[in-house]
Symmetry: C2
Subunit: 283 residues, 2 copies
């Protein structure tokens, strides 16, 4: 496994890979890797000859007052985990490498960046789209793997990739969960033991809502969301940011979720952590 800190160096190494006719799979991360990331790496490993993981906590996707400085980092541990998974290259740049003086370019995926997490994080997805476009141009992978846990991010990356004609296949990886159902997240580290204990309420509410929709009945989305809200609020620990039932591609709210594909998505604050989760229904 090789570690690169600069764009010219990783480009040079990747040029050789491509010259030898090998395919490149890419997993962009903010590091502090957990089983969720590792499952994405395994997908890339199965699908491509060479796997590149980027580890970069992207300041452009954090607003003032968010957890940029506190975001957990442990490069040595990430390095070992990548090594064990058979990752070939790690790209581990610093901020000067990614955002040189005079940086001025912003990519917006309009219509998709505003709802859901975009309401409380208005510039977040511009930061995500912009850094991902940069990483795509640096790594030039054949395929890139993103987790479904941030399904809005995945929808935005898919749309941007199609719209800007990046010749890259976007692959969504299933959310990996703790045994009690809590979606894995680097931010779970922020939870106190008591908060950690109630956190699985979120996935329980998502599963129950999915069941409710699949069982049929005339229930509309508002009714489903009401029940979820009651269930989550009964734990008396969550501050709900949103619960929405939306179209998986357009993210437009769906009034009647039966007999079609929808995603039920939510975001909450639990202590110091902002947690997101979602479930696909009708897929």
């Amino acid at each position: 496994m090789k570690i690169f800190n600069t764009i010219p160096k990783i480009r040079e190494a990747l040029r050789e890979i491509r010259r030898d006719g090998m395919t490149i799979g890419f997993v962009p991360t903010m590091g502090f890797l957990h089983e969720g990331h590792l499952s994405l790496i395994r997908i890339a490993k199965r699908r491509a000859d060479v796997v590149v993981v980027s580890i970069y906590v992207n300041p452009m996707q954090f607003s003032a007052g968010e957890d940029l400085a506190a975001y957990p980092r442990d490069f040595r541990r990430d390095e070992t985990l990548c090594e064990n998974e058979g990752v070939n290259f790690i790209f581990y740049p610093n901020d000067e490498e990614i955002y040189p003086d005079g940086f001025a370019t912003r990519i917006s995926v309009e219509g998709l960046k505003e709802p859901l997490c975009g309401r409380s994080r208005p510039s977040h997805f511009d930061g995500v789209a912009t850094v991902v476009a940069k990483l795509f141009n640096i790594v030039e992978p054949d395929l890139a793997v993103f987790g479904k846990k941030d399904f809005q991010q995945l929808a935005i990356i898919r749309r941007m990739t199609r719209d800007l004609d990046f010749p890259i296949e976007i692959v969504g990886g299933e959310t990996v969960r703790e045994r009690d159902g809590l979606a894995m997240s680097s931010r779970n580290k922020y939870l106190s033991p008591a908060e950690r204990e109630v956190a699985p309420t979120l996935y329980r509410a998502l599963r129950m809502a999915k069941q409710r929709i699949e069982d049929g009945g005339a229930e509309d989305s508002e009714a489903v969301k009401r029940v979820m809200r009651a269930q989550i609020e009964s734990a008396d620990a969550f501050e709900i940011d949103y619960i929405e039932i939306v179209d998986p591609e357009t993210l437009i709210p769906v009034a009647n979720p039966s007999s079609r594909k929808v995603v039920i998505a939510l975001a909450v604050r639990l202590g110091a952590a902002r947690l997101i989760d979602n479930i696909e229904v009708g897929f």
Copy 2:
């Protein structure tokens, strides 16, 4: 010479070119080619093994009320001109190919898109940056050539290319002029014979201003602009949009233009045409 209308077809052909180790030079145009475009094609021809010209009147860079529908088009003539210059591939897509249903992505180069032409055309350069990023991802050239006549466009493309890490060299081609100094432009077609006759006033004013700055003296930019304005307005045919003396990279106005690189740029309306021109000083 081969003509491609779809993204998959040109990609397939270019993949072979790259597999054979040949370099690709790219000249994006809106067609209705003139000597200015041909000079860019010749630069690409000298610098790369294979030259791709795109011909696409990009609706995203026109606002309502601008000349999208009237913009001159003559594909058969363009085809012959490209053939004569030894162009290898023409990419000639339609709007559905470039902007499929649900298209939602916008690239903004902030700070550079707002001044000069951006003041009267606020979304113009987002449209330019977005379509150029798309074309870059479709053609994946080694180098791309843009005319200096639209020097704000060139500055924006350079900035975007660097910011998003496109592995592409951006080359600026000198403005080609009619014998009387008028910068070549597809939009010169809109000029009446009387308007055509006064049009060279613009370049005369630019050259005189350059001379004035190069001759030294304590003159500041405001004084230079005042003289230019008087000279252009004396023709009694122009409506001046702007005259600015700016830094070539940041486009920030420069108060004292002596002993440094600046660009003097202007835009005017002359009859039905909006004309731009500029001159480099201190280069």
